[in-house]
């Protein structure tokens, strides 16, 4: 057991029996229901409300409008706070907004005794607006004369950053003789997280404080933002996080917790719940940014990249949320994986528009950049007649690489091993040849894509985590982590880590799954694939202290030097012979009740993490495409990952499956669409094409383990990466199968048929 075993999830039994409680399962019996009143214009200003009809609905307790809500502007991103103003998240919204920037913006809230009354009253609120023109894309929003969404950004550009790695400019470098120039534009679409549990929270007052129970990835950050949004001091707010039905980044955002916190204060402290519908979740929470890329590459005929130019426009939507961090992260990844002989010149824009706000979603900008980058690499390979993998290997990051922007170092790389395994699995060499010159309506192709990914957010942001261990009378221990279980298996791997370092059996560690900011040690939460690395360091530190304290007590009891003893399988043993000397139960009961030396053995440590490391991986896919139907079938697909040492291979495989599934949806079907007025067209699970089991092929997951010296257990990021390389791998397989480069996601039949027709492969498709 311990680290490296395929231990069964510690929460599995509770989750198959209904024992695991999620936020709404815990709702108090007398809970009020709040329904958000939403704007019916995507850009404008609320001039007046007529609440008479709504207030007349039986069961309505109170209606609060944007004219009554606290005036504080606050940020919603689940980032660690910065005490330096220049590094703080953009605060550009209020609890309820008078100036509305998206269709369905929060303008008022109805509190009622039940759901029916709240929903009825919300529909009966009459609103008068001043309406402005709507902009849906960065191009529209940046055009001269475009309406200004936020006064602080008169050009609608939330942020523009540039960097240059190397000397000179791209154009100058690309003008050198003998180079091939490859240019392309690549577009990614707006998608949504689609966690099956909707965002839900409730708040109530207790002893003059506000308690918020929420389905969140980031309870300590929720507490901070509730304070900033309501003006209540931090200590007056307590946040509790029960089990959560998926988050994928959408719950790394503070959504409706601050509003619930405010509403309970308006309802005499009674509990008030806000649970979104599926339609609201799609339209009014967060989405993955649609980013458009313009890429240029100058390459030698032998495949060496000489110079590259990168330009990206990210569609932010109405509010800053995670803002430019995501597009900036995307551009950084572009410089990490491949290095140029001379120069990489990059510009990145994040632009306000009137669609749903872009926020964190599994991969944090990298799935977008990876689609563009890896599609482009195949285009480059094709232009110079080189095998796409050979081109990549010639230019990719190697061990020892240091990012010039952040200093992040490549301590370990299993990337080339991942490529070897992927090639073997998919039959790369044979099939690249066999499918080279196909004719006919149904063709096959193989494609691949690869990526690098950081582990946590250092040094861009603070990385800190804490862990606490508390001994019980029977020699078992509670483990309290500020880090959160969000379905990925954090509770299980932390249990394994604690057992490993202390010397306990897994079953003697009782992890406390719920975070409660009143008692849980501080950690910023689940995002950036950081927890096994960053929180794992804190846990290892606490476990070492805990172990030392146990051994000190054993020294007292056994009159042997602590240093000559060890803890194995929850026994105090002789370090050399392994002879069992004292059971943990006997030690623990004495430590509690000794009349001469009573001590409650506990340990709590914080670790301020000041390192980061790269994980790697690749996706290989074989597809069959029916050209007249424009339909892609995935015949075989594998992700191979270097995520360092695996804490739990069974859970690691499960993470990869889920990420691949999300990548397949991104590649083939998912897209949240809007009409010209900014109204969402398909914000439900029928019209938005989330992959079902029928859409999903067998998913193969494999690993190349490296032992990362910067990590607590040799481990590197894993949670997000599996979603990254799938879409470009499929796009590249399509290119291989047909010779047609489709540069926009998703690869839907409509789009493919149009592309095949344009390429002259479908003769009379209009007829």
């Amino acid at each position: 057991m311990g680290v490296g075993s395929r231990a069964i999830r510690v929460d599995a039994c509770e989750k198959v029996t209904g024992g695991a409680k999620y936020t709404d399962d815990l709702r108090p019996a007398n809970c009020l229901v709040a329904k958000v009143v939403r704007s019916t214009v995507a850009n404008g200003r609320v001039k007046a409300f007529d609440l008479a009809a709504a207030l007349a609905v039986p069961g309505v307790v109170k209606i609060v409008t944007c004219f009554d809500a606290p005036p504080f502007e606050f940020p919603t991103a689940g980032h660690p706070w910065s005490t330096e103003a220049a590094h703080q998240d953009v605060a550009d919204r209020r609890l309820l907004n008078e100036r509305v920037r998206i269709w369905g913006d929060d303008i008022a809230a109805v509190i009622a005794e039940n759901e029916v009354a709240a929903a009825r009253a919300a529909r009966l609120v009459r609103v008068e607006y001043e309406e402005y023109p709507v902009v849906l894309t960065p191009q529209e929003a940046m055009a001269p004369g475009a309406p200004v969404l936020h006064d602080a950004r008169p050009d609608n550009v939330l942020a523009h950053t540039s960097f240059k790695i190397g000397e000179g400019g791209y154009e100058e470098a690309a003008a050198a003789p003998g180079l091939r120039i490859v240019e392309g534009t690549y577009e990614t679409q707006t998608v949504q997280h689609c966690h099956i549990e909707e965002p839900v929270c409730y708040a109530y007052m207790e002893k003059g404080r506000v308690v918020v129970v929420s389905s969140t990835q980031i309870p300590h950050i929720v507490r901070r933002v509730c304070s900033q949004a309501t003006g209540l001091p931090f200590g007056k707010i307590r946040v509790i996080k029960p089990y959560i039905g998926g988050g994928f980044g959408n719950k790394q955002e503070v959504l409706y917790e601050p509003l619930a916190a405010f509403l309970t204060t308006q309802a005499g402290g009674r509990p008030v719940e806000i649970e979104l519908s599926r339609e609201e979740t799609f339209a009014f929470t967060r989405v993955r940014h649609a980013i458009d890329f313009s890429l240029k590459t100058a390459v030698r005929p032998d495949g060496r990249l000489v110079a590259r130019r990168y330009e990206a426009y990210s569609n932010q939507g109405g509010y800053a949320s995670h803002g430019h961090s995501i597009a900036a992260n995307a551009s950084n990844a572009y410089r990490h994986l491949y290095q140029d002989e001379q120069v990489l010149d990059a510009d990145t824009y994040t632009v306000y528009t009137n669609i749903a706000s872009g926020g964190a979603m599994r991969g944090y900008g990298i799935p977008q950049a990876n689609f563009a980058m890896e599609a482009h690499m195949d285009d480059v390979a094709r232009a110079i007649g080189m095998d796409p993998i050979d081109l990549r290997v010639k230019n990719c990051m190697r061990q020892g690489y240091v990012d010039p922007g952040t200093g992040i170092t490549c301590y370990t790389s299993g990337l080339l091993g991942c490529l070897d395994q992927g090639k073997k699995h998919i039959g790369w060499d044979e099939k690249r040849k066999a499918y080279a010159n196909q004719t006919g309506d149904v063709r096959r192709g193989v494609g691949m894509a690869m990526f690098s990914y950081k582990t946590g957010v250092y040094p861009i942001s603070l990385e800190t985590a804490s862990a606490r261990l508390v001994l019980n009378q029977d020699g078992t221990a509670q483990l309290q982590m500020g880090a959160t279980e969000i379905g990925q298996g954090a509770d299980t791997v932390f249990t394994q880590m604690a057992a490993e370092t202390i010397g306990f059996r897994d079953e003697d560690i009782h992890i406390v799954s719920t975070q409660d900011t009143d008692v849980t040690p501080f950690d910023t939460g689940a995002y950036a694939s950081r927890q096994t690395y960053v929180s794992g360091m804190a846990l290892k530190k606490a476990a070492k202290v805990f172990r030392a304290r146990i051994l000190d007590y054993a020294e007292f009891m056994l009159k042997r030097a602590a240093g000559a003893m060890d803890i194995r399988e929850s026994w105090i043993v002789d370090a050399e012979s392994g002879e069992r000397l004292l059971s943990m139960a006997d030690l623990a009961i004495e430590s509690f009740y000794s009349l001469t030396n009573s001590v409650h053995i506990t340990a709590e440590e914080t670790n301020h993490c000041k390192s980061n490391t790269f994980s790697f991986g690749a996706c290989f896919a074989e597809i069959e495409v029916d050209i007249p139907l424009g339909k892609i079938e995935v015949l075989n697909i594998i992700n191979v990952h270097d995520s360092g040492m695996l804490i739990n291979p069974a859970l690691a495989e499960a993470q990869v499956h889920g990420g691949m599934s999300m990548g397949l949806g991104y590649a083939l079907g998912e897209q949240l669409r809007y009409d010209a007025k900014g109204r969402p067209l398909n914000n439900n699970l029928l019209d938005y094409k989330l992959p079902t089991s029928m859409d999903t092929p067998e998913l193969h997951a494999a690993f190349v383990e490296t032992d990362d010296p910067s990590a607590p257990y040799g481990n590197k990021s894993l949670g997000e990466p599996p979603a990254i390389p799938v879409a470009p791998a499929i796009r590249n397989a399509l290119l291989h199968a047909t010779g047609v480069a489709v540069n926009s996601l998703p690869l839907t039949p409509q789009k493919l048929v149009e592309a095949f027709a344009a390429a002259g492969m479908i003769a009379s498709w209009e007829g």
């Binding site: 209904g18 695991a20 966690h195 099956i196 998926g246 599926r278 499956h657 599934s661 029928l686 029928m694």
Partner: protein, 162 residues
């Protein structure tokens, strides 16, 4: 106006007053405390609220509680053995790492109970179709299918009929 209905829920006869507009989902969750039955869309798209009504898997969010009059309802709370042991289907989900966030899990297990109860042997492809009314964002369905395949095969060995 509330209406009194009688049904058998997880082996026990239950009499409860319901609003005639109320879904079976809301009655099971809010009146009977069976919170394993999850709400994911409320329009029959996601399958998280699946329960068995007289042995048939249905979306309880689009099934009126009054329709359950006289019927037998089963949720995962009713699957454990007399001493709290997991049913073989639950055990298979646990051991095959088919559980992640756990929100779609109870509904999928109830569909598995329906499938296994048929005593038929299903291929993996047939199982894919059988569970396609359940949306899961965590697993890619891979380990869920592994669990389903295992339990269907184990059951078939004991009570097999084609």
């Amino acid at each position: 106006m509330l209406k009194l209905i009688k049904m058998t829920v997880n082996g026990k006869e239950v009499e409860t007053a319901v609003d005639p507009r109320e879904s079976l989902l809301d009655v099971l969750r809010n009146r009977l405390g069976l919170t394993s039955v999850k709400r994911g869309c409320e329009v029959g798209e996601c399958g998280a609220c699946t329960v068995l009504v007289d042995g048939e898997a249905i979306d309880s969010c689009i099934y009126l509680a009054v329709w359950a009059e006289g019927k037998t309802i089963l949720t995962v709370e009713g699957l454990r053995g007399p001493n709290g042991e997991l049913s073989p289907i639950q055990q298979a989900f646990v051991e095959e790492a088919a559980v992640q966030c756990g929100f779609c899990t109870p509904g999928l297990i109830m569909t598995a109970v329906e499938i296994v109860g048929s005593g038929k042997r299903y291929t993996r492809e047939e199982l894919r179709k059988q569970i396609s009314g359940h949306l899961c964002r965590c697993t890619g369905y891979q380990n869920i299918l592994n669990a389903m395949e295992r339990i269907v095969n184990e059951t078939y060995k004991v009570v097999g009929q084609d």
